[in-house]
């Protein structure tokens, strides 16, 4: 693939891939729908695309999983979730695990399998695939995915660094993702528009909407600087439906305000990514609630969850059931539901204000990559519970009495006095839980859904 100048891959990697012309032709002329085709037609219908996460180590097992989900649950798209070794660029380790015990891999090692097997995945199902991973530097994985004919690629320099890596400098991950975005733009010029989904879920636990949206918006701005004109912005369900619907609606408004006018934007909802109930009936209800939230918020796509979430990687059957539950939740059967629009409008206005306070100082900078790095170093941008040392994690979120996620401590975020006052007032009623040294309350907020129902006997709840 002679695009080494754009991706800046080692020559041996480029030499192992088909030519750029062949990759473009396979993506463009195969006759199969691409991710963007599916998203555009879903937008026209008003029903979100449903997509599960799925990935296993062995190739035959992955083919079987994709085919099972495609036929059993008719998703709009399917995922190729990548294993942790490949995410970190440890392709040799992934290849060794694949030879010795593929069952130990927690995803599909696409680079180790190679692009030719990737094409077998693409050709095995009726729907387009997305590569989902968590790589701070995904260039080689991206090249393999393109060669495999995969038309959707998740990630960005903030969201695929801070939750996943202990000490990769943001300057490195942002630079690597600029290369991915430059290739995305070059492909669009050839007539192949990729879905580029930005991972606003971040650390997945009590992520305040304005933190999520600020990070993905900045990633989107950096992508458009490289010429990208189509982005999916993913937001994680927090669990309070008015706040979640407001956040999803804010995505479109923020992109109209801050991205080039010709940018196409797809809001995506990730069904609850925090601590799930172990009780499978309660988990089903949360899966349903999430998909419904996505439909009501106008998400073009919903990434589904399963009743097995609290128990580990889901079985194929549970994954299919999650899709079917989500299909019911987004069906016209529930079109009668109306939410409190005044409450949503108020939430939306505050989300727009908070995001503006976070991003506008950075957007004014000439070198926005440097500005983002400096902001994380100073705490002016921050992510709660960051696994990386490169975010200060001085932000402490908490739920208000209605379950919406607020700032218990804003850390170094440069919020206005009115924003700080509102957050303080909304948390004032946390009975005895306002003390930031008392982490019990925050732990209870993290376990909001896991603790929401009375515990039943293990025999019943494991069914």
């Amino acid at each position: 693939m002679p695009d080494d100048t754009l991706l800046r891959l080692a020559p041996r990697v480029g030499a192992s891939l088909p030519s750029w012309r062949e990759v473009v032709a396979y993506l463009r002329d195969s006759g199969r729908p691409t991710a963007i085709d599916v998203l555009r037609s879903a937008r026209a219908t008003g029903r979100p695309v449903l997509q599960p996460r799925c990935g296993v180590g062995g190739h035959e097992e992955m083919l079987a999983l994709l085919r099972h989900l495609d036929t059993a649950a008719a998703p709009g798209m399917l995922s190729v979730t990548i294993d942790s070794h490949t995410r970190l660029g440890h392709f040799v380790t992934a290849a060794r695990e694949l030879r010795t015990d593929p069952g130990r891999l927690n995803g599909y090692p696409l680079v180790a399998h190679g692009w030719a097997r990737g094409r077998e995945l693409t050709e095995s199902v009726r729907v387009p695939l997305e590569v989902r991973h968590g790589s701070p530097d995904a260039r080689e994985l991206f090249a393999s995915a393109l060669a495999a004919g995969i038309s959707s690629f998740e990630g960005g320099g903030i969201g695929y660094n801070l939750p996943y890596s202990k000490d990769v400098p943001l300057a490195e991950s942002l630079s690597a993702w600029q290369r991915v975005d430059a290739v995305t733009a070059a492909l669009a010029a050839e007539g192949v528009v990729l879905e580029r989904e930005l991972f606003g879920t971040l650390t997945a636990v009590l992520v305040p909407p304005s933190v999520s949206l600020a990070c993905t918006l900045l990633e989107a701005v950096l992508a458009t600087e490289q010429g990208v004109r189509s982005v999916s912005i993913a937001y994680p369900q927090g669990g309070e439906i008015h706040q979640d619907v407001a956040a999803l609606r804010a995505i479109t408004l923020l992109c109209e305000r801050y991205l080039p006018q010709d940018t196409e934007v797809f809001p995506v909802l990730h069904v609850f990514m925090g601590v799930f109930p172990r009780d499978r009936a309660a988990a089903d209800a949360l899966v349903f609630h999430g998909a419904l939230t996505g439909r009501l918020g106008g998400a073009t796509k919903v990434i589904t969850k399963t009743r097995d979430e609290a128990w580990g990687i889901p079985s194929a059957e549970a994954n299919a059931l999650g899709l079917i539950t989500s299909a019911v939740a987004t069906s016209p059967l529930l079109d009668f539901i109306r939410l409190d629009e005044a409450r949503i409008a108020e939430e939306t206005a505050w989300i727009l204000t908070e995001v503006a306070e976070l991003v506008e100082p950075l957007l004014a900078a000439r070198d926005r990559v440097a500005a983002v790095c400096a902001a994380f170093a100073s705490g002016a941008l921050d992510v709660p519970f960051s696994a990386s040392r490169n975010a200060r994690a001085a932000v402490l979120p908490a739920r208000d009495p209605g379950g919406a996620i607020r700032y218990l401590s804003p850390g170094g975020l440069p919020f206005s006095a009115s924003t700080l006052r509102r957050n303080r007032e909304l948390l004032a009623d946390r009975a005895g839980r306002g003390d930031v040294t008392d982490v019990t309350g925050v732990v209870a907020d993290i376990n909001h859904f896991a603790d929401a129902i009375p515990v039943r006997t293990p025999e019943v709840s494991q069914r």
Partner: protein, 146 residues
Amino acid sequence: MSHVDDRVVVLGVAESDAHAVANRLIEFQLRELGFAVVNLGVCTPLADFADAVAAHPQARAVVIGSVNGHAVADLRDLPALRGAGRLPCPVVVGGNLTIDPADRPEAKRQLLALGVDHVLDDLTELAPLLLAPPDGAQVPDEVVRA
């Protein structure tokens, strides 16, 4: 809380464990209580804890979280490090120590045998333990749990 301003706590997550949430919550809580927290973060080898204590000899304790069930394996080098005169301060371990909760008492016994000074059953036990007077003999594990 100025009386603890001079107190350093070395904090981190065991070597095989990448879970950041409890670690960041503890960091936040201890800072609010006035501790100077040296947070080594997720996936920290035991030798890195020893290096941090060498750099901060006044450290009040080393607090190691482990929620992936591999606590005993990740602490296996503690006797060797202690034998070499490293990690002289109290070592506190807490979290989900085993994959099956039924194995916890045995894991706790093994950790104490390795030389861990306190094994905590709950996050709320940490602050009282660290705030206890340093010279007033160590708080017995049983008292902390009650």
